[in-house]
C-alpha cells in the first residue's frame, strides 16, 4: 500500500511525514513523530485524551486520518508551554492538584487552552460543557474546573495590563 507524504505545521514547526491511508493523526503523532503526549483512550472520539488543535479548533486526533493533516496547522500538548514557561492552564492544574494519574491531562490542557483562547470569562457551567468531551476517571472534575476558572482569572488580569 503506497504511503502518503504529508506536509504540515506542528507546534509551529514545519513537519513532513509518511503515513498509510488508514493511520489516524493520533497514530502518526505517537508512532511516527514520537509526540506521545496525546493519548489513545478509546479510538472512538468519546474520551478526548487525544485532543489536539487543528487550524484553531479542538479535534480528536483519533478521528482524523494522518493524510488529512496536509497543509494544516496543528498544536499538540507538547506545544502548549512556551519554552520553560508553562501556560497558565498548566500552572493552575499543578497548583489545584487537578490531575491524579495524569493520563487525561494532556487532552484537558489542550481543550482548556482552546476554551480560554475563545472566552476569557467562562462560567462554571460553560466550562463543564466545553470540557464534556474530555473524560476523567480520577478527579471527579472538581479541581479541573477550578483550575481552568482560576487560569481564566489570571489571564484576564494579564490582559488588563
Amino acid at each position: 500500500m503506497a504511503k502518503h507524504h504529508v506536509s504540515t505545521i506542528i507546534n509551529g514547526e514545519p513537519v513532513e511525514f509518511l503515513c498509510e491511508p488508514q493511520q489516524t493523526l493520533l497514530d502518526v503523532l505517537r508512532d511516527e513523530l514520537n509526540l506521545t503526549g496525546s493519548k489513545e483512550g478509546c479510538s472512538s472520539g468519546d474520551c478526548g485524551a487525544c485532543t489536539v488543535i487543528v487550524d484553531g479548533r479542538i479535534a480528536c486526533s483519533c478521528l482524523m486520518l494522518g493524510a488529512e493533516a496536509e497543509g494544516r496547522k496543528i498544536t499538540t500538548v507538547e506545544g502548549i508551554a512556551q519554552g520553560d514557561h508553562l501556560h497558565p492552564v498548566q500552572q493552575k492544574f499543578l497548583e489545584h492538584a487537578a490531575l491524579q494519574c495524569g493520563f487525561c491531562t494532556p487532552g484537558f490542557i489542550v481543550a482548556a487552552k482552546a476554551l480560554l483562547d475563545e472566552n476569557l470569562n467562562p462560567t462554571e457551567e460553560e466550562t463543564r460543557y466545553w470540557l464534556a468531551g474530555n473524560l476523567c476517571r480520577c478527579t471527579g472534575y472538581d479541581k479541573i474546573i477550578r483550575a481552568v476558572l482560576d487560569a481564566a482569572a489570571v489571564m484576564r488580569q494579564e490582559a488588563a495590563r
Binding site: 478509546c42 472512538s44 499543578l94 492538584a97 470540557l131 476517571r137 471527579g140
Partner: protein, 764 residues
C-alpha cells in the same frame, strides 16, 4: 520524635506541587503505550466471539506465513501450573486461574477470552494476521446471571470446582465456588424481639473501573532470558512474579519490571493480561513486543467488578435501636473464582454496632470476564443494600436517617460482625460533621431530594521497601516501590522532608523498578501512604541517626550528645560542647571522610492500618417526565487520619464520589442473549462527564491512626462506598419512589414513577 502533633508539622499537611506534575501537564510523562524499543514488534490478541465454547482446534499456519509476522502463540506455549505453585507469597491471586485467563485452555469462558496472539512488524499486519488464525469452536450453552448460574441445571463453567465453605463437601461440581459466612449473636432472636422488621432485595450490574488508559506493555526477552518488562500496572513486583510464573520463565532475578506511569487502575491493574503473552511472543521472535489493548478489548476482556443480588433484612425497636441485621450477597465472579463477596459481607455491616448479625456470601461463576478489584472491592455493592435498607428503616420508623446512624453507628469499643473491636475510629465524628454542615441547611425545591449514606473500608498494610540516599550536594533521593496512581510519591517526599527537616523541593521521590528497590506489594487497598509511608519514614529516621553519628565524628563527641532539628545537627545542651550547627548539606559534602555514603534501606510488613469511615450527603433533582436525575450538591465527609497532602486526599474523595455516581445512575454492562457485550465503548458505557457533576465538597476529619508515624489512614477507597445509596436515598426523598436496582437510569425511574403509588416521605 513524634509526628502525630499536627501543629509542629512543617511539610506534611501543606500542598506542594507534585514532583511529577510538570511532566504530566506537558505530555512528557511516559505511560505504558509510550515506550518504544529498537526492533519492536506489535502484538495483537485473538479473542473468542463466544461466551462459552470448547476450543476444538487452532490453526496458525496461514498467520505465520503472512509476511511481517514474526511469532504466533497459543495455549501450547503456556505451561500448566501445578497446585503447589498457584500462589506466590502474600499475593492474593490464583496463578492457574490467571494463566488460563491470559490464554484460554480448552474452553473459551467469556466473549473476548484470549485464545491466540501474534507479533508482527506493524499493527496493520498484526491485525490481518489475527483474521488468518483459524479457530474451531463448539459453542456451549452459557449462563450470565448470578441466580441462573446457581441453579442446579445451569451450564457448568468448570467441572473441578466444588463449593468451598459448605459442609459436607459437595459431590457435584458447581458454579458456586464458595460460600462465606460471618455471624455475631443470634439473628433469629434479634428479629423476634424487633418491633419493626423490613426485608428488601437489591441488585447491581457489573461496572468497569474504566481507567482512561488501556492496558499496555512492552516486553523484551533476551536470548539469555534477561528480560525487560515496561508496563502500566499497580505493582511491578506482581508483574514480574506473575509473568515469570505464567510464561514459565521461573527466573525473577533476570526480569526487570519497570513501572510506567499509570493512567488509572482503581484495582483493575493489580493483575495482568498482556505481559505473559508479550513475553512468549518476544521469546519466540527474539525481538521486543508491544501489546496495547484497544478500548473494546478493555471492556470485553478485563475484569469489571461483580453484578450482584443483595438481600437485606433489618430489625429494630420503635426507638431506632437495631436488634438484628442479616444480609445475603450473591456476587458474579466471572469466568474464574474470586469475586469480592467476602468484603461485601464484611463492609456493609461494619459501619454499625449490631448485637446480632449475619452475612452470607456466594461467589458465583458465570460466562463473563473474570472480575477484577474495583476500588473497595465488594463494599459499594454490599453498602448499596445495607445503606438503602437503613434509609427504608428510617422512613418506616419515622426517624431521621442521620439520627438512626448515630444511634447504631460503630464507635471505639464496638465489636464488628467480622471480628475486630474498633479502636481510634472516626465514624461518629463524620456524623457530627454531617449534622453541622451547611449542606443540610440548604433548602430543597420542588422535585428535589436529599439522601445520606455511610461507608467503611478496612484499608491494608503489608510489604513495602524504601531506600533513602543523601546525595553529595545535600539533596535527598527517596526510592520506593509503589506505582503512583494518585499523587502518592509527593506524599512520600513530604514525609521524608518532614523527618529530615529539609525543604520538600530538596527531596526527590523515585518509584523504583524491581531491580532498584526491595519487594513492595502492589498499590491498592489504600495502603501506599500507610505502609509505603511507614517505610519511607523509617528510612528517613535511620538517615537522621546516621547524620547524628557523622556530626558526632566531626565534633568528636558521643552520638548520644547530638540532636537533629530543622535539618541540622546540634550539640544536645551546653555540656556537649559549643559547636556551630551542622546542616545536612555540609554533612553530605563531608560524607566520604566521616564514614562513606549516607543511605538507609528499610523493608517492612506494615501492620496496624486504620479503617476508614465516611458519611455522604447528596441532593438530586428529578425530571419526573423523563426520569432524568441531576446531582445538585454533594458533600463527602471522611475520617482520613492525617492528610499528608490534603489536595490529593480531597482528590481521592471526589474521584470516588464521581465513580459512585456513575455506578448509581448510568454505568452498566449490557449483554445480548448470546452473551456478547453490546456496549464496549465510552459512548454506551456511560461514565459521568464534566457537565454531569457539580463541585464535590469534601470535609477531612482527622482522627489520627497512632500506628502510623504521621497518623495516616488509607483514604482512596472508602469514598466510593456510599454514593449509590446516597443517590438512591435522595431519589426516594425527591419522589417517594424507592429504586433497588442499579443503575437508576431514566427508563427505570420513569417506569417506577408511572407505575407506583408514591410512598409518603418520613417526617424529618
Amino acid at each position: 520524635m513524634s509526628f502525630l502533633d499536627k501543629e509542629s508539622l512543617k511539610v506534611v499537611g501543606t500542598r506542594p506541587i507534585r514532583p511529577d506534575g510538570v511532566d504530566k501537564v506537558t505530555g512528557r510523562a511516559n505511560f505504558g503505550a509510550d515506550m518504544k524499543m529498537p526492533g519492536m514488534l506489535w502484538g495483537k490478541i485473538k479473542r473468542s466471539p463466544h461466551a462459552h465454547a470448547r476450543i476444538l482446534s487452532i490453526n496458525t499456519d496461514k498467520a505465520m506465513a503472512l509476511p511481517g509476522v514474526k511469532a504466533v502463540t497459543t495455549r501450547a506455549d503456556f505451561p500448566d501450573i501445578p497446585p503447589n505453585k498457584r500462589t506466590i507469597g502474600a499475593m492474593p491471586h490464583n496463578l492457574w486461574d490467571l494463566s488460563r485467563n491470559c490464554m484460554a485452555k480448552g474452553k473459551a469462558l467469556y466473549e473476548g477470552h484470549a485464545v491466540a496472539a501474534v507479533a508482527a512488524t506493524s499493527p496493520a499486519i498484526a491485525e490481518q494476521a489475527l483474521d488468518l488464525i483459524e479457530v474451531e469452536y463448539e459453542v456451549l450453552p452459557h449462563v450470565m446471571d448470578v441466580e441462573a448460574a446457581m441453579a442446579d441445571d445451569a451450564p457448568l463453567l468448570h467441572d473441578d470446582i466444588f463449593t468451598a465453605g459448605v459442609e459436607p463437601k459437595p459431590a457435584k461440581a458447581s458454579n458456586v465456588s464458595k460460600m462465606v459466612r460471618f455471624a455475631k449473636g443470634d439473628v433469629e432472636a434479634g428479629f423476634a424481639e424487633a418491633d419493626v422488621v423490613i426485608e428488601r432485595r437489591y441488585t447491581t450490574k457489573p461496572v468497569h473501573q474504566a481507567y482512561i488508559e488501556p492496558h499496555a506493555c512492552v516486553v523484551s526477552v533476551g536470548q539469555d532470558g534477561q528480560t525487560t518488562i515496561w508496563s502500566s500496572s499497580q505493582g511491578q513486583f506482581m508483574v514480574r512474579a506473575y509473568t515469570s510464573r505464567i510464561a514459565g520463565a521461573e527466573d525473577n532475578a533476570s526480569i526487570r519490571a519497570i513501572p510506567a506511569e499509570i493512567g488509572g487502575g482503581f484495582g483493575g491493574k493489580t493483575i495482568i493480561y498482556l505481559e505473559p503473552v508479550a513475553y512468549v511472543l518476544s521469546k519466540k521472535s527474539g525481538r521486543p513486543v508491544k501489546i496495547v489493548m484497544n478500548r473494546e478489548e478493555v471492556f470485553r476482556a478485563t475484569g469489571p467488578t461483580s453484578g450482584a443480588v443483595v438481600e437485606v433484612k433489618l430489625g429494630a425497636k420503635r426507638d431506632g435501636r437495631i436488634t438484628a441485621a442479616k444480609a445475603v450477597l450473591k456476587y458474579q465472579a466471572g469466568a474464574f473464582p474470586g469475586s469480592p463477596v467476602q468484603q461485601g459481607c464484611i463492609c456493609g455491616l461494619a459501619v454499625y454496632d449490631l448485637p446480632n448479625a449475619e452475612a452470607i456470601g456466594y461467589d458465583v461463576l458465570c460466562n463473563r470476564p473474570k472480575v477484577a478489584a474495583y476500588r473497595a472491592p465488594g463494599a459499594p455493592i454490599g453498602s448499596f443494600g445495607v445503606e438503602s435498607c437503613m434509609d427504608e428503616l428510617a422512613r418506616e420508623l419515622k426517624i431521621d436517617p442521620l439520627r438512626l446512624r448515630e444511634m447504631n453507628g460503630a464507635k471505639d469499643g464496638t465489636k464488628a460482625t467480622h471480628g475486630p473491636t474498633w479502636v481510634n475510629i472516626g465514624y461518629q465524628q463524620t456524623l457530627e460533621a454531617a449534622k453541622a454542615h451547611a449542606h443540610l441547611k440548604t433548602r430543597l425545591g420542588p422535585n428535589q431530594g436529599r439522601g445520606i449514606a455511610s461507608g467503611y473500608w478496612h484499608n491494608a498494610g503489608g510489604e513495602s521497601s524504601a531506600a533513602c540516599h543523601v546525595n553529595e550536594d545535600g539533596t535527598v533521593t527517596i526510592t520506593e516501590g509503589h506505582p503512583d496512581i494518585g499523587g502518592s510519591r509527593a506524599s512520600m517526599a513530604m514525609m521524608v522532608a518532614e523527618v529530615l527537616g529539609v525543604p520538600f523541593e530538596s527531596v526527590r521521590p523515585v518509584v523504583g523498578d524491581t531491580t532498584a528497590i526491595g519487594f513492595s506489594a502492589s498499590t491498592g487497598g489504600s495502603r501506599v501512604t500507610f505502609a509505603g509511608g511507614m517505610a519511607v519514614t523509617q528510612s528517613a529516621q535511620r538517615i537522621v541517626e546516621e547524620l547524628k553519628k557523622r556530626a558526632a565524628v566531626t565534633w568528636d563527641i558521643s552520638p548520644d550528645a547530638v540532636e537533629w532539628r530543622d535539618g541540622k545537627a546540634f550539640p544536645a545542651g551546653a555540656n556537649a560542647g559549643s559547636f556551630e550547627p551542622l546542616p545536612l548539606a555540609e554533612l553530605a559534602a563531608k560524607a566520604a571522610r566521616t564514614g562513606g555514603p549516607i543511605s538507609a534501606e528499610v523493608q517492612i510488613n506494615a501492620q496496624g492500618q486504620g479503617p476508614g469511615f465516611t458519611t455522604h450527603i447528596c441532593d438530586v433533582e428529578v425530571d419526573k417526565e423523563t426520569g432524568h436525575v441531576k446531582i445538585l450538591r454533594y458533600t463527602a465527609i471522611q475520617d482520613v487520619g492525617r492528610a499528608i497532602h490534603p489536595s490529593y486526599v480531597e482528590g481521592q474523595m471526589q474521584g470516588g464520589v464521581a465513580q459512585g455516581v456513575g455506578w448509581a445512575l448510568s454505568e452498566e454492562y449490557i449483554y445480548d442473549k448470546d452473551g456478547r457485550l453490546e456496549n464496549p465503548g465510552f459512548l454506551d458505557y456511560r461514565c459521568p462527564v464534566a457537565s454531569d457533576m457539580p463541585m464535590i465538597d469534601t470535609v477531612l476529619i482527622e482522627v489520627p491512626n497512632p500506628r502510623h508515624p504521621f497518623g495516616a489512614r488509607g483514604v482512596g477507597e472508602v469514598p466510593i462506598v456510599p454514593p449509590m445509596a446516597a443517590v438512591a436515598n435522595a431519589i426516594a426523598d425527591a419522589t417517594g419512589i424507592r429504586l433497588r436496582d442499579l443503575p437508576m437510569s431514566p427508563p427505570r425511574l420513569l417506569a417506577a414513577l408511572d407505575n407506583a403509588e408514591p410512598i409518603r416521605a418520613a417526617a424529618e
